[in-house]
């Protein structure tokens, strides 16, 4: 079964499983990064997660919502219950109606979802030249290239090369398809002051916020990896035993 097996392998590869669905049109520069959460034993770097949250809160949250997350989820990246309460309490959220039938504002609670910067999509577009800043809860899973792609976008703002026609209001980006992105460069050196004193260079902030956003998109990752390793080891042993039984039962037949 050797030759046919090879043909089958070629066929399987040719099925394009997992390969990107587009032909190589433009040269998009996606830089591969080392991520602590890659690999079978991968986990999120807590310090990077927390710094990344600072970047999100201070920079990204002005335009981008994070509506799949609640403030209470921040305990998973190492914030204490008090810190979570403080983050939640720093925003005012709409609640109601009260007994008079009116909506009212109250301090945020941990069980509240992250407050969006705009009331709805239309308001978001109106404030951003017609462009809708996407929600960031799943952005790392919603883009081909995942964390590498988002990192490359954040670090890919450069001057347009000579001869490249830029549309009004757009910014040149080496990683964005078409090379023109509606978002102006969000990160610049020192735009955030990190609580742990790390130097806030653009690559550092990009790395940290992508770590945070990767957690936001895959909060179950560490549990998934842990349970996964145990499960596969268990199965390997069990399958080994099942094979031994099979050989035993079949011993007479061959």
């Amino acid at each position: 079964m050797r030759k046919p097996l090879a043909a089958a392998a070629v066929a399987a590869l040719a099925l394009g499983i997992g390969l990107p669905a587009h032909a190589a049109d433009e040269q998009l520069q996606i830089e591969r990064q080392q991520w602590s959460f890659y690999g079978v034993f991968g986990a999120f770097d807590r310090a990077a997660e927390q710094r990344g949250f600072e970047v999100y809160k201070d920079v990204c949250a002005n335009c981008h919502s994070l509506n799949q997350l609640a403030y209470r989820n921040l305990e998973e990246i190492g914030l204490s219950a008090n810190e979570v309460n403080a983050v939640a309490a720093s925003v005012q959220v709409e609640d109601g109606p009260n007994d008079q039938g009116a909506m009212f504002e109250r301090q945020g609670k941990p069980s509240d979802r992250f407050k969006a910067p705009f009331a709805n999509d239309q308001a978001a577009r109106a404030a951003n030249n017609g462009a809708l800043p996407p929600d960031l809860s799943l952005i790392v899973k919603a883009r081909e290239g995942g964390p590498d792609y988002v990192y490359s976008i954040l670090t890919g703002f450069k001057d347009a090369p000579a001869g490249f026609k830029m549309t009004e209001g757009m910014s040149y980006n080496t990683a964005f398809p078409g090379h023109q992105i509606g978002m102006p460069p969000p990160l610049s050196e020192g735009v955030v002051t990190y609580a742990d004193g790390t130097k806030a260079t653009v690559p550092q902030m990009a790395h940290d916020v992508v770590t945070f956003l990767s957690w936001a998109a895959n909060p179950e990752l560490e549990t998934r990896h842990r349970v996964g390793v145990k499960t596969i080891i268990f199965l390997v042993i069990l399958t080994g035993l099942l094979y031994a039984i099979k050989r035993k039962v079949w011993a007479g037949v061959h």
Binding site: P110, L241, I245
Partner: protein, 185 residues
Amino acid sequence: MATSAETSAHGAAGVAVKRRDFLYLATGAMGAVGAALAVWPLIESMNPAADVLALSSSEVDLSPIQVGQRITVKWRSQPVFVARRTPEEIEEAQKVDVQELRDPQADSARVKKPEWLVMVGICTHLGCVPLGQMSGDPRGDWHGWFCPCHGSQYDTSGRIRQGPAPANLVIPQYAFLTDTSVRIG
């Protein structure tokens, strides 16, 4: 000679049987454990999810409540009666001979601070919400709460005095965070 050869062959077969049984036993046990571990998430997923649990405690601000006023708050999707009792109501509640009650319970066992009564507003008969929270509501003969569904009457400590309900109104787990706020649940 033949006998000893037979015996040793028999013995070897016996050992082989034991080994085979152990293999089946070990695999069977492991398979059973694996099956249980596999089924567990299916069952556990039906337990309250994280967002439901996050709403499982409610904080109530007591400062706007006047003496004699009763408010209803929502806790775990249920009504909770928070009553700021008048001195008369407190005295009535404490004066009662506990042994006469259908569900004997002293008032002191039902409150942390006598002025504040916190209880789940669901009649212990068949689950209706008793009247008595609003100022115009009937409160029954014991000046507490009156359930319109089947006529159960509760006193100023929320204890059943008359009617088909078998037990006093349930006191939930709660704690005073400050003098003017409680966390329920």
